[in-house]
């Protein structure tokens, strides 16, 4: 029977990384997953920004987003680690603190909404491994990606999951797709995105460039991510560094894109030819 989820697109996936959105929609359809768009959804809101400025605003806006999934009686799935963290943390806080829940529900009642906690918040890695299963993913593979060498960039928030299970799921899917993983030594180091909120230059110099240098040495064909903020940072970092005549040309790819390619979709169908850091070398390897 098809499992249905409320799809929380967030801010950056639909605008900056629509390739991940189209890929996930295609992969989900192959796996018998039905996705319902959360049409009234706003920014999660991003905890690195709104929670730091005002907890009360953050928890109320997040609760409103959670109430949308509850109104259609579905668990939430998101492709973004930032959205996952924000909604997951907000749900936990609201479930654990009845006084807080009451205060938030008083505000939500003014817009005709309420939070109960019955919809779970899941990152797409979680539904792929826990709900779909690695064996079903393996069955759908038409094009094993054994030609590709990937540098995994986990993203900091992945390790906030229970016992870091989302990081293990990331490794599991990479392995099932047949990808060859390179070890570059600083897999767990942050891409630099949170630092950009204070200084883009320092973030690129002290984090992004460090990672790009090590990944370049590892001779990976691409960086694989599960978060649009990390994607943005590696893309922006490479484009900024080109102005200083430092060139990497390492494509950044969301794991959902690699799944779609392994399931037999063409690079053009998922927009792999539309990335700003060109993916021609990868497309050539897939032929």
């Amino acid at each position: 029977m098809a499992k249905t989820y409320a799809l929380f697109l967030g801010c950056y996936i639909p605008i900056v990384q629509p390739f991940a959105e189209i890929s996930f929609r295609k992969v989900a359809s192959q796996l018998g997953i039905e996705l319902v768009d959360m049409r009234e959804a706003t920014c999660c809101p991003v905890s690195d920004i709104v929670r730091l400025v005002d907890y009360d605003s953050w928890i109320n806006v997040a609760a409103r987003n959670l109430s949308i999934a509850e109104s259609i009686d579905r668990d939430i799935v998101t492709l973004c680690l930032g959205c996952w963290e924000s909604l997951h943390d907000a749900r936990n806080d609201l479930i654990e603190d009845s006084e807080l829940r009451e205060k938030v529900n008083t505000k939500l009642s003014q817009i005709g909404r309420s939070f109960t906690g019955r919809s779970e918040v899941k990152h797409f890695l979680q539904i792929m491994v826990e709900d779909v299963g690695l064996s079903k993913i393996r069955e759908k593979i038409k094009r094993p990606l054994t030609n590709l060498k990937v540098a995994i960039h986990y993203g900091c928030k992945l390790f906030k999951s229970e016992n870091g299970k989302l990081a293990t799921y990331f490794d599991n899917i990479v392995e099932v797709l047949g990808l060859r993983r390179v070890n570059y030594g600083i897999e767990r180091v942050c891409c630099g995105y949170p630092l950009t909120l204070y200084s883009s230059e320092i973030a690129i110099e002290e984090r992004t460039k460090w990672k790009l240098d090590e990944i370049k040495k590892s001779e990976a064909d691409c960086i694989v991510v599960v978060c649009p903020a990390c994607y943005n940072q590696f893309e922006r970092g490479q484009l900024e560094l080109r102005r200083k005549n430092i060139r990497y040309d390492i494509p950044i790819i969301h794991l959902s894109e690699l799944m779609a390619l392994a399931f037999g979709f063409s690079p053009k169908e998922i927009g792999l030819d539309r990335h700003r850091i060109r993916c021609e070398a990868i497309i050539e390897k897939l032929k």
Partner: protein
């Protein structure tokens, strides 16, 4: 609760919000999301076969009214000096 725990997660009092943080919150209040949807991005989405305007508050503007009410109730607007008439921070 001492001053240090009161400030958590900050280490010291923040007197002026960094511009990227203020700008991001301004966009959330104005359009419901952080990045703006350009015609170029709309075109790319259309070419990829997905809704040119993402099926969120980008398309369903009524949702913005709910967000605005919450922003006023929680005083998020005051935190960044949001001017509701000019639709930008003061």
């Amino acid at each position: 609760m001492n001053e240090e725990t009161n400030l958590y997660p900050w280490r010291k009092t923040i007197k002026v919000l960094p511009k990227p943080i203020k700008d991001s919150i301004a966009n959330i209040i104005k359009i419901g999301h952080i990045p703006k949807l350009s015609s170029l991005r709309e075109k790319m989405r259309k070419q990829l076969g997905i809704d040119p305007i993402p099926p969120t508050v980008y398309r369903f503007k009524n949702a913005l009214l709910e967000l605005h009410l919450l922003a006023k109730l929680t005083k998020l607007d005051l935190k960044i000096g949001w001017d509701w008439e000019k639709e930008k921070p003061e």
